[in-house]
Amino acid sequence: MFRLLQIEFIKLKNSKGSKLLIIIYFLLLTSISLIAAIKFDIGQIKFYLAEQGIFNFPYIWHFNTFMAAFFKLFLVLVIVSMTANEYSNRTIKQNLIDGLSKKEFILSKFYMVFTFALISTLFIFVISLILGLMYSDFKELSIIILDLEYMVAYFVKLLGFFSFGLFLGILIKRAAFAIAAMFVWFVMESISLGLLKWKFNNDPEKAENIIQFFPLYSMSNLIEQPFGRLKAVKAAANQLKTTIEYDYAIHWHEIAIVLVWTFLFTFFSYKLLQKRDL
């Protein structure tokens, strides 16, 4: 495994475009902390975002993972282009001739995907922890460790999405077309979602039961938007209530769905490569 990671690392290190995208990605992740600096000071109205409770533990885990997930597009670009370029430069052929097996090739790509997801998760964990320790109203360990499952959800979400990118890179072989295909997939999934919701208009739960299995939806479903919850947190804080509404919780079956998709994307990448003549 270490050897395969090393191989990927050599490839990555020498790709200027990928390095640039990765740097932008981490700068953007760091920029979440800049939200803390948002201040409006217009006459009588004073608004200081950091004091609105968004950096309160445990809410910060939810808020930051949700915001950070938008930037995953930068890393998926790296994954798709690194994979598709192996085809356009025909280096995949050379890799196999040099003695890498097809399985090892896909595994090395998957390890890269895994590492990207893991580093992103650790990065956002550290940033959230620092921001939380600076701005949170509650800094007791028992509260900090609440809701840490958002970190797991964030990791799984990235893992699934990046595997999707890997699959499209292998399937389409051309980076630009693979990205386009990702967009088309997103549009088609959205249309199907709309149609299903419309069809089961009187029974939204039934629609939800079906659409929760769609790949992109299942990934976005992992971490719900946190804004509705912000008021609840504030209210809870203000009234010193300890119970918080849990509509926004991570459901383990949702994580399982995304993990199954991750497996399928990686598995079918392998099957595709195995079947193809290069």
Binding site: R3, K11, K93, N95, S101
Partner: protein, 300 residues
């Protein structure tokens, strides 16, 4: 003798096209093999199959008597396919380092191999800045990194200028002289003739001949004869000579095709005795080209 590679009834079909048809042959250690065939005869497909990039339709092949899996066997092989494929934005050195990681060998031989192909001074240049000849030489360096048990070359001089072709051939001959087993696919006959001890000829995916290069034909060669005197008389005379199969006129030269081992001295003596003085007499071995054309046209 150690068998490095054996193919048994190998088949590859692309839809209706039967690219490799029931191909069997063996590669023994220490020999230099040429796979000859016209363009599109299935040479590259065959190499693709044994190199793990093309899936066979049926049949078998095994490396090193089937003792290890194909991808592990390939770590002991050096192979170059038509065009050199490397990472364009990586330097020559980094590209070779990657190959070392894949082959699970140490990187300490990189400089040595770059030296062999004359690229040591360009080791830190990006691959995309290389000329085609340099790319091909880098590919050879890459194939030599593991001191391979067998070097496989597919049309290594394709698209190169005469100087590039010469450089590559020199390198190949040098490697062959070191005792490395080589498998060279080519449609350039003189290339094969100069380098290979054994030859496999295929056409339309079918094997036409397998054996030593110099045993390829039963012919005893040709003798070119010329006289300043009466040519008709010479022909008449030669027809009576035992061991001459046919005579053909090529301008003022008469080409005698032999059915026996005959020396030029014998012919010269014979003609002189019969009052004909020869002005030119040369014995030729049949060229690989003529044998190749005979073989490949035979089935037409």
């Amino acid at each position: 003798m150690k068998t490095i590679l054996s193919l048994k009834n190998l088949n590859k079909k692309y839809g209706k096209v039967h690219a490799v048809n029931n191909l069997s042959f063996k590669i023994q250690k220490g020999n230099v093999y040429g796979i000859l065939g016209p363009n599109g005869s299935g040479k590259s497909t065959t190499l693709g199959i044994i190199l793990n990039v093309v899936n066979k339709t049926s049949g078998e092949f095994s490396w090193f008597n089937g003792t290890i899996s194909t991808h592990n066997a390939l770590k002991k092989v050096g192979a170059i396919i038509e065009s050199p494929n490397f990472y364009p934005n990586m330097s020559a050195y980094e590209n070779l380092r990657l190959v070392c990681k894949i082959k699970e060998i140490s990187t300490h031989k990189i400089d040595e191999k770059l030296e062999i192909v004359g690229l040591l001074n360009r080791k830190n240049s990006n691959f995309k800045t290389f000329s085609l000849g340099m790319k091909q030489r880098l590919a050879i360096a890459s194939a030599l990194l593991n001191d391979p048990e067998i070097l496989i070359l597919d049309e290594p001089t394709n698209g190169l200028d005469p100087q590039g072709i010469h450089q590559i051939r020199e390198i190949i001959i040098q490697i062959a002289n070191n005792g490395t087993t080589i498998l060279l696919a080519s449609h350039l006959l003189d290339e094969v003739e100069k380098v290979c001890s054994h030859v496999v000829i295929i056409r339309d995916g079918i094997k036409l001949y397998e054996g030593k290069t110099d045993e390829m034909t039963a012919s005893f060669g040709f003798i070119d004869i010329k006289t300043e005197q009466n040519q008709e008389k010479l022909i008449e005379l030669l027809l009576t000579f035992k061991g001459i199969k046919t005579l053909t006129k090529k301008g003022d030269i008469i080409v005698a095709s032999l059915s026996n081992e005959i020396s030029t001295t014998e012919i010269n003596k014979f003609c002189f005795k019969n009052d004909i003085v020869l002005s030119h007499i040369v014995k030729r071995k049949p060229s690989l080209e003529s044998q190749f054309l005979t073989l490949t046209n035979h089935l037409n």
